[in-house]
């Protein structure tokens, strides 16, 4: 039978630009859409140097009353927690709320001191659930050795909040000789990560039950300020610290590469991922580099101190799985590249919007 082939029409582009005039879920994913939203809607009217620096926490100065005393440097941060479900393997919204802000402060090299906690509670929530969350916050605060010194409570009608939203803000003090921020990475620096990637994101996805899989993966949610203290005590060459939360390692490294105007080259074989997390990502078509973490940090360190920092990290509770995963260079400024497991090189981009399980 002769097969008749159709005349091909040539290029037909399906579509004009999709303008998002309204907020969609992708704006909250921590990736490019979030950054664009911040740049277009929030930053212009609110701009000031501390905000514009774009780090995990703002660094501000308070001038003391005594004129010949150096100004006090503080780190200030705020974080809202809307995770669903409230409880998941390894953690809950309360622990997340405390650790999230403690970690943001610690990433500036600050000693976290005081937190506030604001609660938006949906009508109908069991008080026992609220008590459980608060108990968890107390335990996390104790572990981090911070105090929650102010709070607020609002109740909204059923349907107006997903059971419970928590906002935490925090203040920490920064020693005069510490200058850690996203613009400090330098060519020659070594990139270290404190442990396995992607565990939190997968644990939460599993707890949601929508994709129907079961694992023994636990969220890694943890306060990292003691780990930061440990490495600060052995090195003055720590240039950048960041905790790769929404958007994962890939997004955080891209932010740093852009802020510091350097290139970062990663070694795929060195990046630690728990085998079960890796398997879950395979099944869903996710890349662990983009999955959220809540108890891990990236440290970008001068080359001479990389080994002592690594050793110091590995000696702490939350840094046992630390590994060197790459280095900073002057080629491809603003770009993150990865040497793949088979020896090729590819770009590691920021997360675009929402990460979706794929069939392709």
């Amino acid at each position: 039978m002769k097969t008749i082939t159709p005349p091909l029409d040539g290029p037909v582009c399906p579509l004009p630009l999709t303008h998002h005039d309204q907020i969609v879920l992708g704006h909250g994913s921590g990736g490019k859409m979030t950054h664009d939203l911040i740049a277009k809607v929030f930053r212009p009217p609110l701009s000031n140097p501390a905000l514009d620096a774009g780090d995990d926490a703002a660094v501000v100065q308070v001038c003391n009353v005594a004129p010949n005393q150096a100004p006090l440097r503080l780190a200030v941060s705020t974080d809202s927690h809307v995770v669903w479900p409230l409880f998941f393997a390894g953690g809950d919204i309360g622990r997340l709320a405390v650790c999230g802000t403690v970690n943001d402060l610690a990433m500036m090299g600050a000693k976290p001191l005081y937190l506030t906690a604001g609660f938006v509670i949906e009508e109908g929530l069991d008080i026992a659930v609220l008590q459980q969350v608060v108990t968890s916050m107390q335990a996390a605060a104790q572990e981090a050795r911070v105090q929650i010194v102010a709070g607020d409570t609002k109740v909204v009608q059923k349907g107006k909040a997903d059971k419970l939203f928590i906002n935490t803000s925090g203040i920490g003090s920064i020693n005069t000789d510490i200058h850690i921020n996203g613009s400090n990475a330098q060519p020659g620096d070594i990139v270290i990560v404190s442990g396995t990637l992607g565990d939190h994101g997968i644990a939460v996805l599993e707890a949601r039950g929508e994709l129907g899989f079961e694992t023994n993966i636990q969220s890694d949610v943890a306060p990292l300020n003691h780990l930061v203290e440990a490495i600060l005590s052995v090195s003055h060459q720590i240039h950048v610290l960041r905790d790769p939360t929404r958007g994962g390692l890939a997004t955080s490294l891209n932010e740093i590469a852009a802020q510091s105007q350097v290139g970062i080259l990663l070694e795929e074989n060195q990046i630690p991922v728990h085998p079960t997390t890796a398997a879950a990502c395979e099944m869903l078509g996710f890349d662990p580099l983009y999955v959220a973490n809540e108890g891990k940090l990236i440290a970008i360190v001068g080359p001479d101190d990389a080994q002592v920092v690594l050793d110091a990290m590995r000696a702490t509770l939350y840094g046992a799985g630390a590994a060197i995963i790459g280095e900073v260079g002057s080629h491809h400024p603003g770009r993150v590249l990865l040497k793949t497991a088979i020896g090729g090189t590819r770009i590691v981009d920021v997360l675009a919007g929402e990460m979706l399980p794929r069939i392709c």
Partner: protein, 84 residues
Amino acid sequence: MCLGIPGKIIEIYQINNMQMGKIDFGGVVREVCLEYVPDAKLGDYALIHVGFALNILSEHEAQETLDLLKQVSMSEEPVDDIFG
């Protein structure tokens, strides 16, 4: 077009007269439909795509292929008659 990965069949049962099972992908367990692999046995590896087992993986063929590729990657001369 076809994100499919192999997983080990660890349970087989019936739901709504459909052959179903639990698959273990390296520590991740999920329920899948086994209607398309009626000869599946516990311990078999199957290709899973969108919650369905599409074929049983032949361990024998897998090993043969890997052995052949190991030969290819070790040899210095062109290997002309691989794969028959």
